[in-house]
């Protein structure tokens, strides 16, 4: 029962028993953008051509379309192209961002093959929080978040504006050149409230309006082109919760309107998508919880490059049961069945077993093709099959003397992997191309030392990934080759020091070479990045200076899209309790 008036974040049921692999607060810093958060996840890598361009995340060798982004329980990835641009998250206005390497795939959506990202609301921010940052890349950000309590209603309102020019120099042979400005304007307004109607009933509303525009940089081997993108997103979520003695009933309504326009001198591409979702959930709280849900989602897309409006009706229902055997062993079994446009989809199932500090996850799930895969003019393939996955993850945490260890091993088999390939006349079209196996190991070691006047923390994380085609339905000699852009090895090390109001850290990140041709005839070299962070807190004021790429490494994630050399970022946050 609730009687306090606070904006209280409750974990989505799917995450009740699983622990996030990485959370925003783990960085110990004020984050300026979401890619800064993602780069700490050892099992994946940020995939981008250039700052200001599309930023996605490849996790455990799987693609952006395999990683849903949840906002209040709804996946906000584009149903048109299957991606989500992490640049667009106004990180100063959101509370936690949590990354789950496995999550609970039966509960987090049909495409959560590579984990799940959960954007959570801010909790207890105080009266006012103002964050501003400036970077030598000529990037500027201001975010203001305020919380007001009136009677039984709590209001949170936030506005943010950022302008990222992403101006930086890069080496081209013996010359040092400067990248063109991205002029990336990102404006956001968020509003949340929570009304405690009575001790048994609460009503919540979340609203997120976004308008962003930018120039998309081209490769340094291309002539400059006027290439612009506009994103306009409106997201609304209403939720009612009723608390009975052993039950919680939750009903929710989502409405989203997503606009994505892309212009060049020869392209005028405009896409509008409307999404409606209604859902009910019932949770029985007792020793062994039961959870049932039923949702209906309708996606309506009317891009100007399709021949007509395309729709998708999805009904999904599922059930989950927690089994607490004793205080050492807990388990959760879940099932989900989706009905998409009157066709039954593969049944998703998962089982989670926690034993002391070890956990085992096993799941089967599937991924639906996106609208572009199906309806792209001259290339869409309406005969595509869904991708299907069987996956497992074994994780453990333990301490030896003063060292904390964590490890995970995982295994994924994806059938009917979808890929765009050229067909007759060189026109690209998606096909179910191969059967892919992704296996790997992630380890981290952490040591904290408390001295009298300061704390020292050091950690090392290592990730190994092998993602290869087990079967290739069109090019047999690609069997066994690591997929393009997927590094086999990653290392992150952090040494941080905290003394009274001061904190400082040095981060070293290593990414091994990545092939960027499918026959392995070309690869991008390994890179070594060192960043430094200095922080100072005085009363309500927090100051932070970050120096990134201290070693001036010339590197790229995508060939011919150089990334920034050494640059500085100053962030100031004022918090009024």
């Amino acid at each position: 029962m609730l009687d306090s008036v606070v904006i209280k974040g409750e974990k989505i049921y799917a995450f009740d028993l699983v622990q996030a692999s990485y959370e925003k607060k783990d960085s110990g810093k004020i984050l300026v953008n979401t890619p800064e958060f993602l780069q700490n996840i050892i099992g994946g890598q940020v995939q981008m051509s250039s700052p200001g361009g599309l930023h996605t995340f490849l996790h455990r060798g799987m693609g952006t379309r395999h990683l849903p982004i949840l906002w209040n329980g709804i996946n906000i990835q584009s149903v048109v192209n299957g991606t989500f641009d992490y640049n667009l998250i106004p990180i100063s206005l959101v509370g936690d961002i949590s990354f789950y390497s496995f999550g609970s795939p039966t509960l987090t959506g049909n495409n959560s093959l590579a984990g799940v990202m959960n954007i959570e609301e801010h909790k207890n921010i105080g009266k006012l929080q103002v964050t501003t940052s400036v970077s030598t890349l000529q990037n500027y950000m201001l975010g203001v978040l305020s919380e007001i309590k009136t009677g039984k209603i709590v209001h949170q309102i936030g506005v943010s504006y950022s302008l990222d020019k992403n101006r930086f120099s890069y080496r081209d042979g013996n010359e040092i050149k400067t990248r063109a400005t991205t002029d990336f304007h990102n404006r956001n307004i968020i509003y949340r409230n929570q009304i405690v109607i009575n001790p048994k009933n609460t009503l919540e509303m979340d609203f997120w309006w976004q308008d962003a525009s930018r120039n998309i940089p081209v490769s340094i081997t291309s002539a400059p082109v006027d290439q612009k993108q506009n994103d306009r997103n409106l997201r609304l979520h209403l939720n009612h919760k009723y608390y009975a003695s052993n039950y919680k009933f939750s009903s929710s309504l989502h409405y989203m309107k997503e606009g994505l326009d892309f212009f060049t001198p020869s392209i005028d591409s405009r896409s509008e998508v409307e999404i409606y979702q209604v859902g009910i959930e019932v949770t029985e709280h007792k020793k062994n919880d039961h959870h049932l849900f039923l949702k209906y989602r309708n996606d309506i897309a009317y891009p100007n490059f399709y021949t007509g409006t395309k729709t998708r009706h999805t009904i999904n229902f599922g059930a989950s049961k927690k089994i607490i055997i004793n205080n050492k062993i807990t388990s959760q079994i879940s099932l989900r069945q989706d009905l998409v446009d009157k066709a039954w989809m593969p049944t998703a199932a998962s089982i989670l077993v926690n034993y002391k500090k070890a956990s085992l996850n096993i799941a089967r799930n599937y991924n639906l093709p996106g609208f572009n895969d199906l309806y792209w003019p001259s290339g869409g393939n309406i005969n595509l099959k869904t991708e299907r996955i069987v996956q497992a993850e074994l994780g453990s945490k333990f301490d030896i003397q003063k060292f904390h260890f964590g490890s995970k091993v995982y295994f994924n088999i994806i059938n009917d992997w979808i890929q765009w390939v050229p067909g007759n006349n060189g026109i690209f079209s998606p096909i179910n191309q191969k059967k892919v196996r992704s296996t790997g190991l992630e380890m981290d070691i952490c040591r904290m030392i408390d001295f009298k006047s300061f704390k020292l923390k050091s950690s090392v994380s290592y990730g190994f990934n092998s993602t290869t085609a087990l079967e290739h339905y069109t090019v047999a000699d690609q069997v066994g080759k690591q997929l393009i852009y997927v590094p086999k090895h990653k290392i992150n090390t952090v040494i941080s020091l905290h003394k009274k109001q001061f904190d400082a850290s040095v981060t070293y990140r290593f990414t091994s070479k990545r092939y960027d041709t499918s026959d392995h005839s070309a690869s991008l070299p390994a890179n070594h990045l060192v960043d430094m962070h200095l922080g100072y807190q005085y009363s309500a004021l927090t100051l932070q200076l970050n120096v990134q790429n201290i070693l001036n490494e010339d590197y790229a994630i995508v060939r011919f899209f150089p990334l920034a050399r050494r640059h500085f970022n100053l962030t100031i946050r004022y918090t009024l309790i």
């Binding site: 042979g173 291309s222 001259s378 070479k513 960027d516 499918s518 026959d519 070299p525 995508v558």
Partner: protein, 352 residues
């Protein structure tokens, strides 16, 4: 040093890779087989593969090797030799890269929006180009001494391949996406003005001349939003600037209109070859109907014919993201061979 640190550094060194030093070649590149590789779309660079069969030399990325690793630019389209220089059209980099024919070292660049294909009569050099609206373009004369564009003729639709014959320059005008063009324009090279426009089929693309002086034009057909609405490809014969014969192609097994790509003529000028429906087709100039005369199976991205050896060269772009291959076949003997290329080979050029 801390043992842990030693292990870590060792680990990093093991898994790091080093860029290999580039080898510069002393050969003379005035003759040989050149393959223009487009490179990966958007994030790649075009490359030139050089093949000298007499000396058994194969160099991938000839331009990079001879110019300190410099990237040629995004989407290399075609090339031609003129005045002891090679002119390379680099489409998405908006330039013509000019190199010395002997050592392939950079001479200069000519800025030009979206260049496509060249033609020369040995005196003048022309290049077609698209405008950035991808709906119109230009037929440009190149000032090969000062490396500039000396004059341009604006045209509607997309100027593609060119054929020089006497003082006339025939230029195919391809269809912009969602629109339709059926014309070949004739440019009077004395005045650089269009003297005539000849209607052929939808999306005129390739153009050759046979032994009788007749001009043949292959048309790709127009692409529609829905592939089943694509218009049929066709082949047309022009004589005295009039269309005298047409061959309209049908549909493939999936009901999609067939679309020919590339058109070359053999050394005797009486037999043509082109790509269509995952096959290499032959068509004799004496045939009054189109026979289903495929001589080789496979999807190829480019085709050319080497008169001196009577061989058809076929560019295999494979999956468009890995190294390609050129296959050659002697249609008289069926002898075949192949050599590796860069990524997305699209244009094959012989200099003998």
């Amino acid at each position: 040093m801390n043992k842990f640190l030693v292990v870590l550094i060792g680990f990093v060194i093991i898994f790091s890779s080093c860029e290999k030093d580039r080898v510069q070649f002393d050969n003379n590149f005035s003759t040989g087989i050149f393959v223009v590789n487009q490179g990966v779309f958007q994030s790649g660079t075009g490359t030139i593969t050089y093949r000298n069969e007499a000396n058994n030399i194969l160099i991938n990325d000839l331009f990079g090797s001879q110019n300190g690793g410099k990237a040629l630019g995004n989407i290399a389209q075609s090339m031609i030799k003129f005045d002891n220089k090679y002119f390379i059209a680099v489409n998405n980099a908006a330039k013509i890269q000019v190199v010395n024919a002997s050592d392939f070292k950079i001479v200069g660049e000519i800025p030009i929006e979206l260049p496509r294909y060249f033609a020369t009569d040995g005196v003048k050099l022309y290049v077609t180009s698209y405008n950035s609206d991808f709906a119109s373009g230009k037929i440009n004369e190149v000032d090969t001494k000062n490396l500039t564009i000396s004059s341009s003729i604006n045209v509607s639709n997309l100027p593609e391949n060119l054929l020089f014959t006497g003082d006339k320059l025939y230029v195919t005008l391809n269809s912009p996406y969602g629109q339709s063009s059926q014309n070949v324009v004739v440019v009077d090279t004395k005045t650089n003005k269009i003297s005539k426009s000849i209607s052929v089929g939808d999306s005129p693309s390739s153009i050759v001349k046979d032994k009788n002086g007749d001009i043949w034009v292959s048309c790709a057909g127009d692409f529609a939003f829905e592939p089943e609405n694509n218009t049929p490809g066709s082949l047309h014969r022009l004589r005295d600037d009039e269309k005298v014969a047409s061959f309209i192609f049908g549909k493939d097994a999936n009901g999609i209109a067939l679309s020919p790509n590339g058109l070359v003529v053999d050394k005797d000028g009486d037999r043509m070859y082109f790509l269509m429906d995952n096959k290499v087709f032959a068509h004799d100039i004496t045939d009054s109907t189109f026979e289903d005369e495929s001589i080789y199976d496979g999807y190829f991205y480019g085709i050319n014919y080497q008169s001196s050896t009577n061989r058809i060269f076929l560019a295999d772009a494979k999956d468009f993201s890995s190294a390609g291959e050129v296959l050659f076949i002697n249609p008289a003997t069926n002898a075949t061979g192949r050599f590796a290329t860069g990524i997305v080979p699209g244009f094959i050029y012989f200099e003998e």
